[in-house]
Amino acid sequence: MTTQTKKPLFPTSPKPFVHPYFGGMVLGVVLFLALLLTGNGLGSSGATSRFVTAVTDVFAPDHVDRTPYLLKMAGGDKNPLDDWIVPVYFGALFGGFASGLFNGRLKFETTKGPNISNRTRWLMSFLGGVIFLYGARMARGCTSGQALTGGTTLSAGSWVVMFAIFGGAYGLAYFVRKLWN
């Protein structure tokens, strides 16, 4: 009887991340292809808004028809999910998963600074999500839709948004340093 060590299909220990400049270059090519083929860039926060609106539209269609921001997406017979950003959103979820799978990084864990509990980190990430998406909808796009895509197409407003994001984060970083250091 021979012992055969079978190589696992997917790595079990995490592989190192790619070099930032390489990752950025690949991302840049993806973004360029998106703009070239479809005229649209990348994004995701718009889809978040559309999911929420779709749910609201099921339970309170009258309310949607009276709310100016929502009726643009779901007023009357409009289907809020009928937008390019929705498949991009699901694609990004699967893409992240695939990369985690092929590089051995699929693991239930919490990424946090060394001096806070899991519970604090969970609360903070939830709160951060609430605040970030509120701001993203206000600015009509997040780091992907405004900073990345708008930065590439040289939109004046997007460059302003990009600096505002970094400004907000750097401005507060010192005061919340306990969260991360």
């Binding site: 649209n40 978040t48 998963f97 999500g129 590439t152 939109s155 407003g157 997007s158 969260l179």
Partner: protein, 435 residues
């Protein structure tokens, strides 16, 4: 081939492949974010304590790579920049929203798309950020009504790109952004050395070569320059819908994309005197009558309110036409017949002036149509009139003082015509980016 491909511009159930295309783009997006380490909030937050500048490096490498490729393709005339979504500028909501996002970033440790990469690889904090995001998006939808006017109007400048802000050629802006990014990369590495105690000698040397390639590519973009007017004209596309009535069924609506030459061939940009006249009384239209004839002809007879810009001076006024504020402005160009008007239409359309139409048959046709009932107009037809010449003999130059220069709207209330004006208010694409 002309990019972007019209069939991919919007997703639609009629063309299910579009869902696949966008899903593949999203897949590649999520994959690159995860492989760059953006599933880990510590890597993202480190950016704001200068210990690891991965966020800045990835983001700006992506921006400059995509930008150089994009404007290279635009310069070569492969890609029509007018068809590319450019985030409209809303200064006030952009700045406040950006600052709020920054707060969310440092507290939550993610941005929306990186939280997807994080959540899908099993990170619980990433999942909670995603969940919080739904709440945040919901709250915005519910509160927007309290400041909807501010949100929609404050600091609104529309589609503005940096070259317009700084009044420099696009290529030069591309080069400047590349130089700025290279400087930022250098600065970021210094910060990592100081704050992150990183040994820079272990960094791959090839990155210096990469910087060189990037710089060279940006110089090439400057050298290619912007596409010529002729290229821009050939890249123009117009969409029109065509309704086919069906017996016992809903009419079929087809969307057809035409090139500029096809628009002329099919006479889709020629409007009858009746439509040109009615436009004046249409609440939805802000008409501008552009008379491109010589000043002498203009003085003999012109439509009331028409602006005289002789053909040879047309190019000078393009910047003014482009900055014409109301989006519902319709430019109606006219010459004596059509030759000069068609040339003007080509020039204006190629220069991205929106909503340009041609008065069918020119001023001669206008006179033939409205002048027949005009007792003040005593003119003789000029039988030997050449191409695009005034077809009537005017004994005096009375400009627009004839009745037919401003026909009575009550008298001409019922006019039948096939409406050709189709307002192109914005690009026919719903919000791009995260919009």
């Amino acid at each position: 081939m002309n990019f972007p491909l019209p069939e991919f511009i919007t997703v639609s159930a009629a063309n299910p492949w579009t869902y696949v295309v966008f899903a593949v783009i999203g897949f590649a997006f999520g994959y690159t974010l995860e492989m760059s380490g953006f599933g880990d909030s510590r890597k993202l937050a480190a950016q704001f304590y200068f210990t690891e500048m991965t966020v800045l490096k990835v983001m700006f490498t992506a921006i400059v790579t995509a930008m150089v490729l994009l404007f290279g393709a635009v310069g070569l005339g492969i890609l029509n920049f007018n068809q590319v979504w450019v985030n409209p500028t809303y200064l006030s909501s952009g700045i406040l929203g950006g600052l709020i996002m920054g707060v969310g970033f440092i507290i939550g440790g993610f941005c929306p798309t990186t939280s997807l990469a994080s959540a899908s690889t099993g990170k619980i904090d990433g999942m909670l950020f995603m969940l919080g995001g739904f709440v945040g998006a919901y709250l915005f939808g519910e509160t927007e009504r309290f400041f909807t006017n501010w949100w929609n109007n404050a600091g609104y400048y529309g589609r503005v790109t940096l070259d317009q802000v700084f009044n420099l050629p696009l290529g030069v802006i591309v080069l400047l952004v590349v130089l700025m990014a290279l400087f930022m990369f250098w600065g970021a590495e210094q910060l990592e050395r100081i704050f992150g105690k990183k040994d820079l000698s272990k960094e791959p040397k090839i990155r210096v070569a990469g910087a060189g390639v990037l710089f060279a590519a940006a110089v090439v973009v400057v050298l290619i320059g912007s596409p010529s007017l002729e290229q821009k004209y050939n890249n123009l596309t117009f969409t029109r819908t065509e309704t086919i009535e069906q017996l016992n069924a809903d009419p079929i609506v087809n969307t057809i994309t035409y090139t500029a030459d096809q628009m002329l061939e099919n006479r889709l940009v020629f409007i009858t005197p009746a439509e040109a006249f009615k436009a004046k009384y249409d609440q939805g239209i802000n008409p501008v009558y552009l008379d491109v004839r010589s000043e002498a002809d203009y003085n003999l007879y012109h439509i009331e309110g028409a602006v005289n810009v002789p053909s040879e001076r047309l190019e000078e006024v393009i910047p003014v036409l482009l900055s014409e504020p109301p989006a519902n402005t319709v430019f109606m160009v006219m010459s004596n017949d059509e030759t000069a008007a068609v040339a003007a239409w080509k020039l204006l359309s190629a220069s991205s002036v929106p909503n340009v139409y041609i008065l069918e048959g020119g001023v001669n046709n206008w006179i033939a149509f409205f002048g027949q009932d005009d007792p003040t107009l005593a003119v003789q037809p000029k039988p030997e009139a050449g191409d695009d010449e005034l077809g009537y003999i005017f004994p005096v130059a009375l400009g627009s003082q004839y009745e037919s220069c401003s026909p009575n709207p009550i008298e001409y209330e019922d006019l039948e015509f096939v409406a050709k004006i189709k307002l192109q208010l914005k690009r026919d694409k719903s919000g791009g980016g995260c919009g």
